[in-house]
């Protein structure tokens, strides 16, 4: 579709306020041969119960329906894996459903759980996501991932998904990055930042103390992208408990934190970038009609929208999500983000799609220092820190769990529990990881509102999950 009707642009409405009460996650790793997937899901749900001072059995007694995010059945060689997990969590005979939208599976799982509670079907829903990609050799893993591209028109071309994605990065790199060394360096800084933040996160799979030079010297995967520009392949699970107001309060009696308001919105775009047609840019509340008139002059070749450089699905997820939650300017209204940094360059593209910077100017979000916990230019807190978890580059990309991990990370900041969750020496030890001597508390001080973006591949599905402290809602929040 390249034109929208008013019906299609209706701002989504929840029939009652919805809350995220708690969440939890397992350790994330490239391979976890010592545990079955269900053991990782039990770890995540047990942590969610502990976070609010309940036993798993007490928490389970509130759950009414279950939403399971798991993308790649063929990796696990198990259809209806959701039914296995559901039984092992001891939640039969409650209703449950599997959700799969590629890399956006975690976000889509939250989308379904929130709608179930908003509609009144359930007062308490479990959103649980997981993935395991360690049970085939890497080249076969690449083959299985490439099955997410079109099987007749794309996958036979090398069976390598990175290639289908990277053509889009190339176009952005040349048109909006102008193939500048300075832009290449900015991309490298994103990798340094995310691997660096991962050092403070015991759950994270790829903590690294590296420099821009290290990134620029890492092997080329698909020029200009290098190995350290790319996200991880992971095993792990994450969950969230979604409730109506009354149940949220009841469940939080012994909880050190309050339940958070949650909204989730979704957008989509063609599975094959090849099928994208030109259209007008749908504007976010902080953008103006004439703002992009000269985009093609400033960035020759950049006037085709969404072309191969914008993610229309992300734009639409933000378009709906901001209007539902009252966000008029993400940089002013939100305190932190977790973005889907599948590649450093797609991180930059997303800044523009979600309106943190206008189209063409995404790199400024990094170069200004706004995206850091502590702005390296000023030494003061970053204006809108992103991916403190380490993101997909530093923490994990256990596909079905990713969007839930991101949301949980945002929640720990609003709950003022980041240091407790990430600093606990016992947890580091349990995961067989050593807490660095220079471990730093990355709590975003005073965080009241945040957002997580969950994104599939070349942009077929994207969700925006917005969390707010219920005592600090925005004026026009639903």
């Amino acid at each position: 579709m390249i034109k929208f009707s008013n019906k299609q642009l209706k701002v989504p409405e929840l029939m009652r306020p919805v809350y995220m009460v708690t969440g939890g996650q397992s350790k994330f790793g490239r391979a976890i041969p010592e545990k079955r997937t269900e053991e990782l899901c039990v770890d995540a749900l047990t942590m969610a119960a502990e976070m609010i001072g309940l036993s798993p059995a007490e928490l389970k007694s509130y759950i009414h329906s279950c939403y399971y995010g798991h993308f790649a059945d063929h990796f696990g060689d198990q259809l209806l894996g959701e039914a296995v997990i559901h039984d092992r969590l001891g939640l039969d005979p409650l209703g449950n459903i599997g959700i799969k939208t590629g890399g956006a599976t975690g976000g889509s799982t939250l989308w379904e759980a929130v709608k179930a509670v908003a509609s009144g079907y359930s007062d308490c829903a479990l959103a649980m996501g997981w993935e395991r990609m360690d049970e085939v050799p890497t080249d076969e893993g690449n083959f299985l991932i490439s099955c997410a591209a079109d099987k007749d028109w794309e996958s036979p071309l090398g069976h390598i998904y990175t290639g289908y994605y990277a053509v889009m990065a190339q176009r952005y790199w040349q048109i909006f990055g102008k193939a500048e060394d300075s832009f290449r360096k900015t991309l490298a800084e994103i990798s340094v930042k995310h691997h660096g933040y991962a050092r403070m996160n015991p759950f994270a799979q790829s903590p690294m103390d590296i420099t821009v030079e290290d990134v620029l010297k890492s092997p080329v995967v698909a020029f200009p992208l290098r190995a350290l520009d790319c996200c991880l392949m992971s095993v792990g699970a994450a969950c969230a408990i979604i409730c109506d107001e009354k149940t949220a309060q009841e469940l939080s009696k012994n909880s050190p934190h309050k339940p958070l308001r949650i909204w989730v919105a979704a957008g989509s775009h063609t599975l094959r970038p090849a099928d994208r047609r030109d259209m007008d840019i749908p504007l976010l509340p902080n953008e103006s009609e004439d703002q992009y008139k000269d985009l093609g002059e400033r960035f020759p070749g950049g006037d085709r929208y969404p072309g191969f450089t914008g993610f229309l699905a992300a734009r639409m997820a933000a378009w709906y999500g901001y209007r539902m939650s009252g966000v008029t300017d993400p940089t002013e209204d939100l305190d932190l983000l977790e973005l889907h940094d599948a590649f450093t360059i797609s991180d930059v593209q997303t800044y523009e799609d979600i309106g943190v910077r206008p189209y063409g100017e995404g790199r400024d979000y990094v170069e200004s220092g706004d995206c850091y916990h502590t702005n390296p230019n000023t030494g003061k807190p970053g204006k809108l820190p992103s991916n403190i978890s380490g993101g997909l580059i530093g923490c994990m990309h256990a596909v079905g769990a990713t969007g839930i991990m991101q949301t949980f990370e945002v929640a720990t900041h609003i709950w003022k529990r980041w240091a407790e969750v990430h600093g606990d020496q016992k947890r580091w030890k349990e995961f067989g990881r050593s807490k660095p001597d220079d471990w730093q508390d990355l709590q975003v001080k005073g965080a009241k509102r945040g957002m997580a973006i969950s994104h599939a591949g070349v942009g077929s599905h994207v969700t925006s999950t917005i969390l707010m402290d219920p005592d600090n809602l925005l004026k026009n929040a639903q």
Binding site: S146, G163, P273
Partner: protein, 196 residues
């Protein structure tokens, strides 16, 4: 000797010949860190799928005959009538009417250009293209969409003029039967089995 699985259609049914899978025994996975205790097993499997191209079959058949087919919505009622699609779409995405096939081979010879590209050193299992793979996304004047394919000669650049080549000798009947070379490439430079 086993024979690759082969399929044809008769009386509206698939007819199968040959071996569609091969048996390989599973083996235990043991843990060298813990006195070789059992951790799991391998599950080998080798299968052949049977897949229909449905309404796209004419596109894939035409490649082996040296032709590039696009499709066009000719529905008078459609707001976007006349839009041409490459990739070939069976139905119009707006009105869902059945599109007409259009031979765009000449058009592709005259005005195909690289919209974007990627040189990729890696591949997944079962890849049969030579590495590095030079992905090219090809834009055509008057066509609303941009085709993903691969370049067989030279180094890609955005804006480079290309011409299509087709595997007309022993076609594979897959998208790999279509490739591209820079305008001005000589016949002798084409990969084996391909012609203009």
């Amino acid at each position: 000797m086993s024979m690759f699985g082969q399929v044809y259609v008769k009386n509206g049914r698939y007819k199968l010949k040959g071996d569609f899978h091969h048996l390989t025994p599973n083996t235990p996975i043991k843990n060298a860190d813990r006195s070789w205790k059992l951790m799991g097993v391998t599950n080998p499997r080798d299968m052949t799928y049977i897949h229909t191209y449905g309404g796209e079959a004419p596109f894939f058949e035409a490649l082996g005959e040296g032709k590039l087919l696009g499709s066009r919505c000719d529905n008078k009622e459609c707001e976007f009538k006349g839009t041409i699609y490459q990739p070939f779409r069976i139905h119009c995405p707006d009105c869902l009417g059945r599109n007409s096939a259009v031979d765009m081979t000449e058009q592709a010879r005259k005005n195909a250009r690289i919209h974007t590209f990627m040189v990729c050193e890696r591949s997944g299992a079962f890849n049969i293209l030579d590495k590095p793979i030079k992905f090219v996304n090809v834009e055509f004047e008057g066509v609303s969409t941009i085709l993903m394919s691969y370049l067989s000669v030279g180094d890609p650049e955005i804006g480079m003029k290309l011409v299509p080549i087709f595997r007309t000798t022993n076609p594979t009947y897959t998208i790999l039967d279509l490739s591209w070379v820079p305008d001005g490439t000589g016949e002798e430079q084409l990969p084996e089995g391909f012609s203009f």
